[in-house]
Symmetry: C2
Subunit: 528 residues, 2 copies
């Protein structure tokens, strides 16, 4: 019997005996976030719990009907905007290639801020629609859910958990205002890089200044762009008054979608469980025609390329350059691409609209992967130990790839100067320099060398919360302190004042004594 | 098959396949610290690894010969001083009962400081004796140990790990200068009580001031009492220069002897593994005569009393008061006591020189335990869910019991006013108020509700370090930063200076412009 089977059996027995079918209310997020939330939902369902997923009537990925959950559909005025992503990508690439101005880039940044603010307002609207729908709230209350599971990059689940007074579990990497750790664990800016800063955990003085500026920007973003709409909801519906950020921090359990093979080591908290790579699994056999194509690569093997859920096409000229580079390789290439067929496409390259990415990454013929750097893809590459050529576009993608680069598992391309020669040279380096593969295989070994599989660990703690009605003993209440108390500013102030007072008294006494001595000698002198 | 057996089998298989018999060099500590280190040593030995224990020729508890380890005996000038503990206890009790002055207490405190400094100097002497014994060092190097396991409350193992360049694992609650967490994880003084302060994690302003003063005292203690002898060793033997505190923080793995059922929740780090209660195990049957005595208690059950490894007797008058209180109870009492037989001893009380404490705590007839509050005993009481009457003497004992008290599992006695009536009343409260038992049983359930047994978890990570030659990816290098960089003091300084400069420039420009306007109008006025 293999160890893994035994672990799973042990988990099954040890949990099964303690926890009967529970009820979980899920507030997921769209897009790639849904991809991994669905993995968790399926696993929770497989353990005999009932799930209800809250979606809006404009939901893009989250289906109304599923064998794994029932759903509640809340009206929303607007859905997620795929066109916006395309537009953003175009501005970005044009800018990097010098075809667009910084002004356009800033305009785009402002547009992104406004879109983010809009998206959060939309989520608050969904929460308002729910909380004011008395019939719906009655049904939910009567359903007696055991906990709420949410991706806190959107705040609806957080708002509703407070209203329903239910234990709250996060499937988290981002919270509404940034990286999750920054909300829950002490995060020294001196060695913890802000997302988007493109910095690692080892910074020069200049880099630390940059990181601090990014931190200040993130604080601004939180206080003035994101929080207001959530806080307005809290002010309207909750009495006694609550601070939205306190609600964010009050979650019972943070199932964090990273681990420290991927993420830089940093302070953490007892109620953070690391489940990075929980979606990874051994490769299944490929569909017959794909397997045939892969096998036809012979000793050279195959290369994958995928730019993730959002980006399925590129500007034509850029796609042509990439295709031309691929055409010069002896390897076979499988490219997930929906745009116009590049004119320079070689016979060795197959365009597909979807690929079984995990199974391909785990295939023994796979030599390298060209990835945009989404968390899911990077974790899968680590799991299977496949070297990566990084093609970051936006969001956290550069930062994710940087984490691989620091460990020697990837080379990162810069969009600005990209042409067929640069692409080919970089890809050949990743293919032929053995250090890339060795480093990725080392990361893979480390990632797998855990006492429990990440998904089993996540399931254990989800059921722990249901069994124990929360995880209060793992959670500090420190977030309820005002910032000046938390940082001991008041205490240090009082102690410094006390020291100052003592010094002043000593000086006063000395002056008084000196004066007395002087006066005495003057009087003496006068008398003499 | 029971889940526990499956877990253990899985652990055995999953680790067994990855890690062949390793070699561990152990630097343990005396007294109660050895009690739990020996548990770990036996468990590591049972997994097929070889252990070598370093002891001094004055070692008190640590035997030279053992079926579990070979030993290296290093010459030392002085052993641990049992008489000193007795003397300290007498001063403490006399003080609390108003029979001694504060002056005596401070004298005792100074003596403790000096004894601590002496003990550390003795450890440095042992390290010096080792490192200068070329034959011994050659043997150790040739033995090719895979890691060093040490209790870092003494620093010998830390010093030698750096010399031998071996991965370093701590069995830790205390480091040389205080509580382990304070050395490795960010520890806001605002809600993390200093040991010895008698504070919980919820403090008033005055308590936070007290905590800060304790923190400053601890810094003083570290810098001026403890560190100097270790630093002198580093300065003498290591080049390039190393800071002893950096060596402390550089350990690969911290196996911490607490968990968050016992300890207040607080920030932690990725390379801290919580193994609180790792020494606890289900009760075995009692020796026949003890079982008979226990059974003779009928429905009333039994009470245990033990004051730990160091304190086996009390001043006669105090022992008489306690015995008199016991004599009035319908329960049977088992009291671990080596002093003179109290004159007031009842028929229901049996004095023993040793007791199978774990088996007694786990016995269904056990109703309560009177404990001094050592970590081992408190963890065992939690494991078995037995309510505790706390009888703290010194070291961390009050703080340990406070953690139980905050969860409603114990009442703490004050030595100063203790007589038979107060002792009896307190004990009866713990026996008859059901909340004490309910709370301890809740803690017991929470403690056992973990995905892995603490000892299995410790073993997994010990073998992880041997397999991977350390755990570098779980350890931040932040401790190598100077404090002003770590706390971003330099960055904030530069940014503030920049802001100030900008303000000054703006003011200067405005003044210049104003001046120009004024001058112009004056000139105009002159011309007019």
């Amino acid at each position: 019997m293999k160890p893994n089977i035994l672990w799973s059996m042990a988990l099954l027995l040890s949990i099964g005996s303690l926890c009967h079918g529970g009820k979980v209310l899920v507030f997921p997020l769209e897009g790639s976030h849904w991809v991994n939330m669905e993995v968790l939902i399926k696993a929770i369902h497989a353990r005999g719990h009932m799930l209800t997923v809250v979606r809006t009537d404009k939901s893009w990925y989250i289906k109304e009907k599923s064998p794994y959950y029932t759903s509640i559909t809340v009206p929303a005025t607007k859905g997620f905007d795929e066109e916006f992503v395309k537009e953003g990508l175009k501005v970005l690439i044009d800018l990097e290639r010098g075809k667009s101005s910084m002004l356009n880039f800033f305009k785009m940044q402002l547009k992104i801020f406004s879109k983010m603010s809009e998206a959060h307002a939309m989520m608050v609207e969904a929460a308002t629609n729910m909380i004011t729908d008395q019939k719906l709230m009655k049904t939910i209350k009567e359903s007696q859910y055991d906990m709420i599971l949410t991706d806190p990059a959107w705040g609806t689940g957080i708002l509703l958990a407070h209203h329903l007074q239910l234990p709250l579990v996060y499937n988290v990497r981002w919270i509404t205002s940034g990286e999750g750790h920054f909300a829950i664990a002490p995060s020294p800016i001196s060695y913890i890089p802000m997302m988007g800063s493109g910095l690692s955990d080892k910074m020069t003085f200049r880099e630390r200044v940059k990181n601090m500026l990014f931190y200040i920007l993130a604080l601004y973003n939180d206080r003035f762009v994101i929080k207001p709409s959530y806080q307005a909801f809290c002010d309207k519906f909750y009495y006694p008054k609550v601070d939205f950020n306190d609600l964010v921090q009050a979650a019972d359990l943070w199932l964090n979608r990273v681990d420290f093979v991927f993420e830089f080591p940093r302070p953490t908290m007892p109620n953070v469980v690391y489940m990075g790579g929980f979606q990874c699994k051994p490769a299944k056999p490929l569909p017959e025609d794909l397997e045939e194509f892969v096998q036809s690569s012979g000793e050279h093997g195959v290369i994958l390329m995928s730019l993730g859920t959002f980006v399925s096409e590129l500007p034509n000229d850029l796609a042509d350059e990439i295709a031309a580079a691929f055409a010069q390789l002896p390897q076979k290439v499988i490219w997930r691409y929906k745009g116009d067929r590049p004119t320079t496409l070689g016979n060795n390259t197959r365009l597909v609209s979807w690929m079984p990415q995990n199974d391909l990454l785990g295939h023994p013929k796979t030599r390298a992967a060209v990835l945009h750097g989404g968390t899911n893809g990077v974790q899968e590459a680590i799991y299977h130990g496949v070297p990566v050529l990084g093609f970051p576009l936006f969001f956290d993608q550069y930062d994710n790839l940087l984490r691989l680069k620091e460990r020697g598992g990837t080379r990162i391309l810069s969009l600005g100067t990209l042409d067929r020669h640069i692409f080919l040279q970089a890809l050949q380096e990743v293919l032929h320099d053995p250090s890339y593969r060795m480093n990725m295989q080392r990361l893979s070994r480390l990632h797998r060398d855990q006492p429990m599989k990440p998904l089993d660990s996540a399931l254990f703690w989800i059921e722990f919360v249901m069994r124990n009605k929360g995880a209060a003993h793992l959670r500090t209440e420190s977030y309820r302190m005002p910032w000046y108390s938390y940082h001991s500013v008041d205490v240090i102030g009082v102690l410094l004042a006390a020291v100052l007072l003592i010094i002043l008294i000593i000086i006063a006494v000395i002056r008084y004594l000196c004066c007395r001595v002087c006066c005495n000698s003057k009087i003496k002198m006068k008398h003499e």
